[in-house]
């Protein structure tokens, strides 16, 4: 961890998408990512894909983490992905978790969504994944001069 001390902090938007009204899981993830050294923007319940993408762009985040337990993942992930593309913001890592069947996970990953984590995933696994993925993306974009 010492080698990252001078690095710009990784910013992550954690959002609870869809209509289900419990956000305990999202809050636990948000606090865990904070403890891993990330700057976590938590936006609360019932966020629409439009709200999520607007907040992500204003906050200039490296990563969006969506928590979805309502079964709407096949609607919400593709929509967020599509909105990011529409704003030329595919550089933002889109990841998340919830109760998502394996077949849907594969379909979403094929679409270009990042890794999706099931219940009970150790937080270190999530934060390691985000850190590695964001570093790779930052390296790639600074190489092209943007």
């Amino acid at each position: 961890m010492n080698d990252v001390s001078s690095e710009r902090p990784i910013r992550v938007l954690v959002a609870k998408a869809g209509l289900d009204g419990h956000d305990r899981g999202a809050k636990v993830v948000a606090a865990g990512l904070r403890d891993a050294g990330f700057e976590v923007i938590y936006t609360g319940l019932r966020q629409t894909p439009e709200m999520i993408v607007e907040a992500a762009l204003q906050e200039d985040v490296d990563c969006i983490g969506l928590s979805i337990h309502s079964g709407a993942h096949m609607t919400i992930f593709p929509r967020v992905h599509e909105l990011l593309a529409a704003h030329a913001a595919e550089g933002i890592l889109l990841t998340g978790g919830g109760i998502i069947p394996a077949a849907d996970v594969r379909a979403l990953e094929d679409l270009g969504v990042g890794r999706l984590f099931g219940p009970g995933t150790p937080l270190a696994e999530v934060s390691d994944y985000i850190r590695e993925e964001v570093r790779a993306r930052r390296g790639a974009s600074s190489g092209t001069g943007s």
């Binding site: 710009r8 904070r34 990330f38 938590y42 906050e59």
Partner: protein, 316 residues
Amino acid sequence: MLEAGTLKALAEAVRRGDARALARALTVVENDPAGAADLLRALGTAGGARAHRVGVTGPPGVGKSTLVAALAAAWRLLGKRIGILAVDPTSPFSGGALLGDRIRMGALAGDANVFIRSLASRGAYGGLSAAADDAADVLDAAGFDPVVTETVGVGQAEIEIARAADTTVLVLAPGQGDEIQAMKAGLLEVADILVVNQADRRDADRFVHALEAAFDLRAGPRPPILETIASKGEGVGEVREAIDARLRPDAQEAVGTRRLERARRRIRAEVDRRRAETWWAGRGDVLDAAALGVTAGELTVADAAAEFAEGKERDR
């Protein structure tokens, strides 16, 4: 870290109102002091002579974010474009931060005339972030006016916001021990406008009277004390009017003084930062030696510092 041409293009896009460029510019001022200096020059901001800079401060849990959101909605009715900087604390242990002010600002989503950015305090004191002034400059250059900065929930004597803002709104709520705290705290002095939020609580009137009594014991004018129920929008229009009234021609002198003070403080801070950066470069070994001397009881901190200040520092 960015090249001059990139910065210039970025500045132009910010002035055009490109929201994405604005977000990137805020990232630059937050992370790269040298880039920030170049960017602000390219933006042509004159250090805050345009937008009304409003600071909203107060203890945790009194409803600062809710009030800021309600104020923004009130300004939107007048056709204003509002920039919001919301500061939350960075953990000194992990370096991470949980920035949750947007939770209370959901009603502002989807409006391109409101731009919200969360800032982590990153070790700065006084409830702000070191980049807060620069970030406000950027929002100002992008045409947002007012620019509202919401501080970390502060304790007793946090005055940074008073130095950073044209107008400081102190938000308190009945109960929570605020009453006694407010009586003795240095916090009251920073208020240009005092808001008692959650005014539907039973002890609200008693709290307002206690505040009035606290001010009557002091010299100088008493700031307006306004009651709100921000979650319902009640009383928010009056707060908005009191804030806007600070820029009326007959009242402008106070804001002018504040702006001068802000410019003075920022110049000094920037000089200190630059001098410290160049001055300490190459003196690390001597500093280590002096620190060893202090811990070994050979010299005092004051004597070691005097050696440095007088250019007589030496390897031990």
